[in-house]
């Protein structure tokens, strides 16, 4: 296009460039433009070519108050709440790839808070409440859709567990109902509720406030809002060591930008938590596994809620685009490869077809894997560590997406004060020494 010269990254980054390494911010860049329907209309007049950059791409400073390692949903949420709630804006998020490119981009986007034990239920419900106001809070449409989640029961024991969990949820103020077969059939007419099914559906727990959200938008919304408050989002910057001095962490050594110092360091790196813990010289009670998911070709709207089954082992929802979004359990072996075995996918689809025989001829479009950090008790770790000033937020395993805002909120408080937030206290990594485990294998659901 004549007269329209696109700047390449070399213009900003190259040592030879006459521009300073730090990108030149214009007046307009410094204040974040508010997204609105009117803005959409206005920008349509210029063919949407003049939208403001969503976030800066700054060069890291020498030192920060807080360094967050990992630019996924949880890390970005942590940065956002550090700036917003605790007024700590001298923060860097260091990400080896691109923002929201790990499990945030790979999950099946289910959000719910119907966990059994008080500790977990309060944490996930804390997240749920933040979800409910997130789009307004971030001025970014995260497409949070409270379409309800069904957890099916197929055996008498399933139904007893469901009843117990529903009662526990209600005591904690979480919306939860136990349904019988007919109640399930009314919500999902296409579900095979025949008594002759191999694993007949006897009922379900139903959380109406649960639902799904647009996973990428969550990362981008937090990133944009954090950046606007002055947080430096540093992508393509891989941490290869955690620098300690007298048993305290003082910074991180990075492949691309050398050493970056920080008063406190928070690691939010999911599957790679074990690798970072090793750099700092300790072990975690975590193993990294591949978790696969897949989507079908887009089809017309047919499923307006989320259906999960622990027993036949699969879960499914339909995205706004029309694809069926499907997932199940982890591959049992340790793996960092972001892929798994075909046998696992086959079992997943067997479960889906058992529940929805009419989907048997739907073709699957894409399949992928993420690396999930599973804890022995299916609960996360939000904790101080044997190294002073070094904190870990990990172990979310197969169900971290739903907790993104709550996780970030309590971890920000933990980093700001240097001690665990009230809701995070039960999730210390040292519970595996004192025995105070929170066994959520039942409510953690399909994947465990």
């Amino acid at each position: 296009m004549p007269g329209h010269v696109l700047k390449t990254s070399a213009d900003y980054d190259g040592e030879t460039s006459s521009l300073p390494r730090e990108t030149v911010a214009t007046e307009e860049d410094l204040t974040m433009q508010k997204y609105s329907g009117f803005g959409l209309l206005k920008h349509s007049l210029t063919h949407h070519e003049n939208w403001q950059r969503v976030w800066r791409n700054p060069k890291p400073k020498k030192k920060y108050d807080v360094i967050i390692v990992g630019g996924g949903g949880h890390g970005l949420a942590t940065a956002y709440y550090l700036a917003k709630v605790h007024n700590i804006t001298n923060v860097a998020v260091v990400e080896k790839g691109y923002l929201g490119g790990g499990n945030t981009a790979r999950n099946t986007t289910i959000v719910r808070s119907n966990y059994l034990w008080d500790e977990a239920a309060l944490l996930y419900e804390h997240a749920m409440k933040l979800w409910e106001g997130m789009s307004q809070d971030l001025n970014y449409n995260v497409m949070f859709s409270q379409r309800g989640v069904l957890n099916l029961g197929h055996t008498l024991q399933d139904m007893r567990d469901i009843q117990r969990r529903v009662n526990a949820n209600r005591l904690n103020g979480i919306d939860s109902e136990a349904l019988d077969t007919q109640g399930v059939q009314e919500i999902v007419p296409i579900l095979n509720c025949s008594a002759n099914a191999r694993y007949p559906i006897l009922g379900a727990s139903w959380q109406p406030r649960a639902g799904v959200a647009r996973h990428d938008a969550v990362a981008w919304g937090y990133a944009r809002a954090a950046d606007a408050m002055g947080v430096d989002l540093i992508q393509q910057c891989e941490v290869n060591d955690i620098i300690t001095e007298d048993g305290a962490a003082i910074g991180v050594s990075t492949k691309q930008h050398g050493t970056i110092y920080g008063d406190r360091i928070g690691c939010v790196v999911a599957g790679n938590s074990g690798v970072l813990a090793k750099m700092a010289g300790f072990h975690l009670p975590i193993e990294s596994h591949p978790l696969q998911a897949l989507v079908s070709e887009p089809i017309r709207p047919i499923l307006d809620t989320v259906v999960m089954s622990n027993q036949v082992h699969g879960y499914i929802s339909q995205s706004d685009k029309g694809d069926l979004v499907i997932g199940a359990g982890i591959d049992g072996y340790n793996g960092y490869g972001q892929r798994g075995s075909y046998a696992t996918i086959e079992h997943t689809l067997q479960a889906i077809v058992e529940m929805f025989p009419m989907f048997s001829r739907v073709r699957m479009n894409r399949q992928w894997g993420g690396i999930v950090d599973t804890c022995p008790d299916a609960c996360p770790i939000i904790s101080d560590t044997p190294v002073e000033n070094l904190f870990f937020n990990c172990g979310w395993g197969t169900g971290g997406f739903k907790a993104t805002p709550g996780s970030g909120h309590v971890f920000a408080a933990t980093l700001a004060k240097g001690e665990a937030h009230e809701l995070a206290k039960p999730f210390s990594m040292f519970r595996f020494h004192n025995g105070a485990l929170i066994d959520e294998h039942g409510a953690a659901g399909v994947a465990h």
Binding site: N272, H283, E287, N334, G335, A343, F432, G435
Partner: protein, 100 residues
Amino acid sequence: MFYIYCPYCGEHREEEEFHPKGQAHLSRPADPDACSDEEWGNYLYFRDNPRGLHHEIWVHAIGCRKFFNATRDTQSYEILETYRMGDAPRVTHFTDKQKS
């Protein structure tokens, strides 16, 4: 899909016949009662979880039902060896070729 050599059956079989059982060569403390909470917790829950070479236990569940060990790269998923319980691994570090 893995194709796994069972050191007891002496055959390669498909992954679905096997189950992974976690990190190998963990030794149970000789006297659990004498352990501190930290030592016992470390034994029960804390794992190496390496990105790279991993010695792990598998069981030939739908086969001879015996447990054995494998050395596997958790990044490429390549199985470098399988060996019987009680044996020591022969592969303990990557050769230059395996690294690439």
